[in-house]
């Protein structure tokens, strides 16, 4: 008797061992070229900046102090680093507004696709998938062309006599926002669609049978049912928006920085790698909080998605 169960147990152990071996290449590559180096960033955030970039191996907390505080160059007193704080605030604010705007536009769009007949639904979905997989840089460039002083919008407005002269749109927060909404919109639509696709319209019908208005049906039936999609889409937009680098650096110009650009600055002209490392870790912590929020809500809603 014990022989048989031993054999089964040995077989199971062998299976798990093989599964570990099989996943080793992927795990090792990610350890070496993605996850592992993150630990080095943590170490670097506690070191002293070197004179020409890189670091000197003297442990210090000054990078972390500099994330939010700055030392006055004359009397050495510490005060809140207004520049950093305002960039943090702006990044979080712009990312939140981007998330809300993509949700407001993406929700009806996903609903529209989900309620098409089977044969045309594929086509609409395909039309969302194309921008999803085309280069983010090219899409940002496309927006740049439209909102430049000599761009389509300004030319059109001047021709129509609405603007007397070109209105400066590029290099403003509005430009960053437009670009991010444009670039991240497909990231919102696809998960929303995935959960709307499974929507049981008999429930909606039941709502109407009970004399609910269309708006009430939307608010009390559809939105609660597709909540997992709303949360997934919001996370998928919020996280890359918060760390955005390409879009703000092209559309925001030099002045309108976001966190990603502030980090890059420390590794370029700023030559303060430890501060850059500390800022990166801070960004990662904010993302972790957002992800925790996601995990909690995804569990709480009880529905499966993905």
């Amino acid at each position: 008797m014990s022989g048989a169960s031993d054999v089964i147990e040995a077989e199971a152990r062998r299976d798990v061992r093989n599964r570990w071996l099989l996943s080793m290449p992927a795990l090792l590559i990610i350890l070496l070229a993605a996850a592992g180096p993150l630990l080095i960033v943590l170490v670097y955030s506690f070191l002293t900046p070197g004179p020409y970039g890189d670091v000197q191996w003297q442990p210090t907390l000054s990078a972390w102090v500099n994330v939010f505080l700055e030392r006055d160059i004359f009397d050495e007193t510490l005060s809140l680093a207004d520049a950093h704080v305002s960039i943090f605030m702006r990044s979080v604010w712009l990312s939140l507004v981007t998330t809300v705007l993509t949700l407001l536009v993406g929700f009806p769009t996903a609903y529209f696709i989900a309620t098409r007949p089977d044969n045309s639904r594929e086509l609409w979905l395909f039309l969302i998938t194309i921008p999803f997989w085309t280069n983010l840089l090219i899409r940002t460039f496309a927006i740049l062309q439209i909102i430049r002083n000599e761009g389509l919008i300004n030319n059109l407005m001047i021709d129509l006599g609405i603007f007397a002269r070109p209105v400066q749109m590029l290099f403003t927060d509005g430009a960053i926002l437009t670009g991010m909404v444009y670039v991240y919109l497909p990231l919102m639509v696809l998960p929303l669609y995935a959960s709307m696709e499974k929507l049981d319209f008999r429930l909606v019908e039941a709502g109407y049978d009970l004399y609910a208005t269309p708006f009430r049906v939307l608010r009390r039936i559809i939105i609660p049912l597709v909540k997992p999609g709303i949360i997934a889409g919001s996370i998928l937009v919020f996280i890359p928006a918060l760390g955005a680098y390409v879009t703000p650096s092209i559309l925001g110009g030099g002045k309108n920085l976001m966190l990603g650009n502030l980090i890059e600055l420390q590794f370029g002209q700023g030559r303060n790698w430890p501060l850059g490392a500390a800022l990166s870790i801070t960004l990662m912590l904010i993302v972790m909080v957002a992800l925790l929020f996601y995990v909690r809500n995804a569990k709480g809603s009880g529905a499966r998605h993905g």
Binding site: N18, L152, L259, L291
Partner: protein
């Protein structure tokens, strides 16, 4: 036909969706149109011409950057897909075992960390290694691309595997097929569309990457996207539109194939 009351209808949703699709394609459309502009302007149409495409093809930097992009994308996509296929086989169709959740988290890790953070981490790590080993070739870029391509390749392969039960594999084993033969003649042919989809996703993702490449590349290692990023900060001519148009065309071809491969069910 009389208009019927539809339970699916929500006032204004169709209008918003139409505006959304229009807004998604208008900027891309304008970009493509001005690639064919005879003049040097990005907003004044001066007639049809292919001169900017000719110029792009004669631009040595563009050619070199394109070849480099393709080299990196091909190697990274192949390695990432192979690793992802093995990882997917190891993490699906099993009772939960110790470390399984950890594996999921690890494989999807590049998706969860903002790209800029990974970019900075790799800049620090690889610049150390460059000093130690003296090697500064394309290997770093390929390694970095492979790592962030793995989760993208993993997703469709895993999805495919989860829809396949073990019945056919068990049947093969009952007929005395060796594990390798079972894999080669049963699992692999069934899994193939997933692997192909993963490969194409990984390829596109690698081809599109800007941020990580920008931080990891050594001098003279521009890929097409980082070259374009550099050019965007200078005076822009329709040559950029021409390059973008060709790039778009390539992406659209791959996505189209992906879309149809992925849609086909067993």
């Amino acid at each position: 036909m009389a208009r019927q009351f539809s339970v699916r209808r929500q006032t204004g949703f169709t209008a918003i969706a139409m505006v959304c699709f229009f807004a998604l394609y208008l900027p891309i459309g304008v970009l493509v149109i001005y690639a064919f502009n005879a003049g040097t302007s990005l907003s004044v149409w001066e007639g049809f011409s292919l001169r900017w495409f000719v110029k792009a093809f004669e631009n040595q930097q563009v050619i070199e950057a394109s070849i480099r992009s393709l080299q990196i994308a091909v190697v990274a996509a192949l390695v990432a897909t192979a690793a992802a296929t093995m990882a997917a086989l190891a993490t699906t169709r099993t009772e939960p075992y110790r470390g399984l959740t950890l594996k999921y988290a690890f494989i999807n890790q590049p998706l969860m960390i903002p790209e800029i953070v990974t970019a900075v981490a790799l800049l620090i790590f690889f610049s150390r290694i460059k000093v130690w080993t003296g090697y500064s070739g394309l290997g770093y870029l390929i390694a970095a691309h492979t790592a962030f391509c793995i989760p993208f390749a993993y997703l469709p392969i895993r999805a495919r595997l989860e829809n396949m039960d073990l019945t056919l594999e068990r049947a093969a084993a009952d007929l005395y097929a060796t594990p390798w033969k079972t894999f080669r003649y049963v699992t692999l042919p069934l899994l193939w569309p997933g692997i192909l989809a993963g490969l194409m996703l990984a390829f596109v993702i690698s081809l599109d990457d800007v941020v990580i490449t920008e931080f990891v590349k050594s001098a003279g290692q521009d890929t097409l996207p980082t070259y374009m990023l550099g050019q965007l900060r200078r005076a822009i001519t329709p040559e950029m539109n021409a390059i973008s148009t060709l790039f778009l065309l390539l992406s659209i071809c791959i996505v189209t194939v992906f879309f149809f491969v992925n849609k086909k069910r067993i």
